[in-house]
């Protein structure tokens, strides 16, 4: 057999095993909307951990991080920093969020806004923004999957065809399973990803340089500036680092899908313990970065940094291991993509379409509309992936700039009674407009600061001032809780 068929077969096997695990786990539960979207709110510590790990460690960590280590150098260190700090933030926010989530039977981030500020329009606006900013994130996963299939087939399958296959598989996966399947598929994904990270991060340096120490020594000799900020870039210095880490750490749990994952937990303490352990998971990342650094010396001059890790693996390891790593990478793209699409589809149907256009829709009809949206959104992301050329990291930074604008509304909504609906509206609008203008006019970074950070600061100031100027309102969290009698 040729290298390509061995690699592809190994990869297919891994993906099939991962999906089978998911189908098996998902098949035993009857799927209503609550089950499909928040798994009946019954996940213990283990499953929440798996679900969140499944959401957070995407192909972004796999290909994007090594890609930036290769092409930009030291600024890539922002990634392990912000992920660890994102969990720190979650320790203080998620348990409170979970409490109100249970009291008012919230399923989504928009439900939160609707309950707290008593405005369906605000909730609909949050939903549509969430959906819009999720598209680049899904696009990232599909592009990554495209790279992987392309590499594993030794270039026999083109990128576009690879991405179309990827999109069909992901869409089908979501339609059939709902969120429970996703949590279980990520078990296999995470084990394999760790194996891949170790073999690449330790194997590659020892294969080419006889160890990590000589590799870095050679790198420091050859490119002394690559390993300190701003690395290979002109404008990603310390100001950018601090502002980006802060922005992403607070934005981490503002992603509608991660926010929603908090509601799947059994208790608030599950989330708190989760926040304690999760940073350890970041430990695979340095290995990926190591691969990116090694690639600078071994395969210099790649036009697309995102390909560095896979090119390196193909050069170094036998075809079957390329296939296994490719399969792990494919699951790493599919699992988060599935969660993202599922969240966006539910948001659109439940929090945007129904309240504004069809208030009489039943939950079953919502579920059906959500499934149509799954197809539409997958198609949209696929279209973007085929026609755009932003790097994987660039795509995620774009998404973060957007979703972080929810942060003032969430955190002040939880902790500050005085904050009003109009204030949140004005802050969020201003933040989003500033982000879009700065990015479209190529002013990111602005004075060495991340554009999203500038917008977030403005957002906070506006929410504060307008809240104090508008008359006090009654918080939706002071109403009597929905009586929580559920028939299992």
């Amino acid at each position: 057999m040729s290298g390509a068929s061995v690699a592809l077969a190994a990869m297919l096997l891994v993906v099939a095993a991962g999906s089978a695990l998911g189908f098996y786990a998902g098949g035993r539960h009857k799927m209503d909307l609550e089950q499909w979207a928040v798994a009946g709110r019954g996940f213990g510590a283990l499953l929440v951990w798996l679900l969140m790990a499944g959401e957070v460690y995407t192909t972004f960590a796999f290909l994007g991080a090594s890609g930036w280590a290769y092409s930009r150098g030291a600024p890539v260190l922002y990634i392990p920093a912000y992920i660890s700090l994102g969990y720190v933030v979650s320790f203080y926010i998620l348990p409170q969020l979970w409490e109100v989530g249970r009291a008012y039977r919230l399923q989504t981030e928009s439900d939160f806004f609707e309950q707290r500020y008593g405005s369906k329009q605000l909730a609909a606006f949050v939903s549509i923004l969430g959906v819009v900013f999720i598209v680049p994130y899904v696009e990232l996963q599909l592009s990554g999957l495209g790279f992987i299939v392309q590499a594993a087939s030794f270039q026999a399958i083109g990128r576009t065809l690879a991405m179309v296959i990827a999109a069909v598989v992901v869409g089908g996966f979501v339609l059939a399973n709902g969120i429970r399947a996703v949590a279980w598929s990520s078990v296999l994904k995470d084990v394999l990803l760790l194996a891949a990270a170790l073999s690449i991060g330790l194997g590659v340096p020892s294969f080419y340089f006889h160890g990590i120490r000589p590799m870095f020594a050679a790198l420091v000799r050859a490119h002394p500036n690559h390993l300190v900020m701003p690395g290979a870039t002109q404008n990603l210095g310390h100001g950018w680092y601090v502002s980006t880490v802060l922005l992403n750490a607070v934005g981490f749990y503002m992603w509608p899908h991660v926010f929603g994952a908090a509601f799947t937990a059994k208790s608030g303490d599950v989330l708190r313990r989760n926040a304690v352990i999760m940073p350890l998971y970041t430990i695979t990342l340095p290995f990926m970065l190591m691969a990116g650094f090694a690639a600078i010396l071994i395969i210099p001059g790649l036009r697309n940094g995102d390909l560095s890790l896979l090119t390196l693996v193909r050069r170094t390891f036998p075809a079957w291991w390329l296939g296994v790593i490719g399969g792990a990478g494919a699951l790493t793209a599919m699992v988060p993509a599935a969660i993202l699409i599922l969240t966006a589809a539910t948001l659109f149907a439940k929090n945007f379409f129904r309240p504004l256009f069809a208030p009489q829709m039943t939950d079953d009809e919502i579920a059906r509309l959500a499934k149509i949206m799954v197809v539409t959104l997958t198609g949209a992301a696929l279209g973007c992936a085929i026609y755009s050329s932003i790097s994987l990291v660039g795509l995620l930074l774009l998404g973060y700039d957007g979703v972080t604008q929810f942060f003032p509304g969430v955190v002040l909504g939880l902790y500050w009674k005085r904050v009003t609906r109009r204030a949140v509206w004005s802050g969020m609008l201003a933040g989003v407009i500033v982000v879009v203008l700065l990015i479209l006019s190529h002013h990111d970074p602005l004075f060495g600061l991340n554009a999203g950070f500038v917008a977030l600061a403005l957002n906070f100031v506006i929410v504060g001032i307008v809240s104090l100027l508008t008359p006090a309102e009654c918080s939706g969290f002071e109403e009597a809780p929905t009586t929580d009698v559920r028939v299992e």
Partner: protein, 66 residues
């Protein structure tokens, strides 16, 4: 407790963003971040303990409340 990792990994970047010394042959900034990936859970574990202690007058939150 939660502020410690923020200061260490984010705000103090200009103090540790350099290559030398190279512990275990790893550039200092890279080594520093890897250490804090391991130290952050320790800090949060401490915070969890503290919070538990503050809540102790009340009975500990039961796990199976649904």
């Amino acid at each position: 407790m939660g502020l410690i990792p923020f200061v260490a990994m984010c705000l103090s970047v200009s103090l540790w963003d350099r290559i030398r010394p190279m512990p275990f042959g790893i550039p200092f900034n890279f080594f520093w971040l890897i250490s804090w990936i391991l130290l952050t859970p320790l800090c949060m574990w401490g915070a969890h303990k503290l919070e538990r202690r503050q809540e102790s007058p009340r009975p500990p939150r039961s796990e199976d409340a649904s």
